[in-house]
Symmetry: C2
Subunit: 225 residues, 2 copies
């Protein structure tokens, strides 16, 4: 029906659309998928031909109502696989992304539903990203603030971390930072370094601002002190 490559384009458009809202530009997609812009242009023509995207030359592209569920299905596969790999097959959370990124295109929906069942219908993947339900509902997914947006002294809970950089993930887990961890913001240096103190007593952790901006958080209404 749809090649793995086309599915990756739809998934990419979905993600970029949610970050930047509005149309996704050719250059942005090319960068994200790591192909030349001309390659994106020709793929957009094919996808819009088949009505998965609404493509306006020189303006950008947007998923149609046909395209969205396909992207969500793949994202569901991806996140369920990640959860399964960590929970049942003893993978480290730093190494699940690549395996899931391949398999997401090849497992059946039945397979996905069965592992979801095994896992007890999990709501989020190991990095805190929400897993669409079997009927592709993602209403539980809210953006939340970013770690970089808080003030010194704030106590916040980690909600989501980016899942593509294994080194970052290893660094974070080494310092006890996972979705759910509560941290105090200890210092924000003028050159953009954010220092945190996780509540697990592992001592302070420093993160570059760019990383802090990519981590989603939830403000605790009242911190415990």
């Amino acid at each position: 029906m749809l090649s793995a490559i086309m599915e990756d384009y739809l998934k990419a458009i979905y993600s970029l659309q949610n970050e930047t809202d509005g149309r996704v530009r050719t250059s942005v997609l090319a960068e994200y998928i790591d192909v030349e812009q001309s390659t994106v242009t020709s793929m957009m023509k094919k996808l819009s031909e088949r009505d998965f995207v609404q493509y306006e030359p020189y303006k950008g592209v947007e998923l149609t109502d046909t395209g969205v569920p396909i992207a969500l299905e793949i994202i569901r596969h991806h996140r369920l696989l990640e959860r399964y790999l960590t929970d049942h097959l003893e993978y480290d959370w730093a190494e699940v992304h690549d395996e899931a990124d391949r398999l997401e295109h090849h497992i059946s929906s039945k397979f996905a539903d069965r592992i979801a069942e095994q896992l007890g219908q999990p709501a989020v993947d190991p990095h805190g990203d929400p897993i669409p339900t079997a009927d592709l509902d993602v209403s539980g997914a809210k953006d939340g603030e970013r770690l970089a947006d808080h003030q010194v002294g704030d106590s916040v809970q980690i909600v989501r971390v980016p899942d593509t950089d294994p080194d970052l993930l290893r660094y974070l887990s080494k310092h006890g930072i996972h979705p759910g961890t509560v941290v105090d913001v200890v210092e924000i240096a003028p050159f953009g370094m954010v220092t945190l103190d996780p509540d697990n007593g592992d001592g302070p952790v420093a993160l570059p601002e760019e990383v802090a901006r990519s981590i989603s958080t939830q403000s605790l209404t009242q911190s415990s002190h």
Copy 2:
């Protein structure tokens, strides 16, 4: 490194080689993979170019020492996946083949090793086919006799059944026939129908000769009566 399609060719050559021994002919491979002969010819050129097969035009093809382990790795993946789908994800043995046939090319060796561990290093897949070990040893695999080769009155144990036809598999399991089942050969009709009586009391089962020829068995040294 190697496309999923090339892997399928190597796997096919391996299987056909073991059935017919000697070189595998273009026509046989074409039939098996379900492509035109000319397609096989051009693929054989590519595979022999890369030294996975030894190809002699007009004579046929054979796996090289480079090609064999690749075929075995894929077969290992396939059979472990089948075992996993039935044992851990509640698939019926009739429906595992297609899912495994896709996924076999996309899981990592690590994934395969992890599910093997989960399953307790199983020796055979749900259809009785032997699973190569992690170091690709298949010494445990012996051909055995076929069900069609026995005489009326023989008591034999089912060892392997063909795994590609879901209807046959459903029929067999409905009548209690699995690898391990012990059956008495009750009747062999002149037009080739073989009638069996499984030891589970589910009553006699009739099978066309062609099917009986595709089922591997193990003679019981002395039957129980």
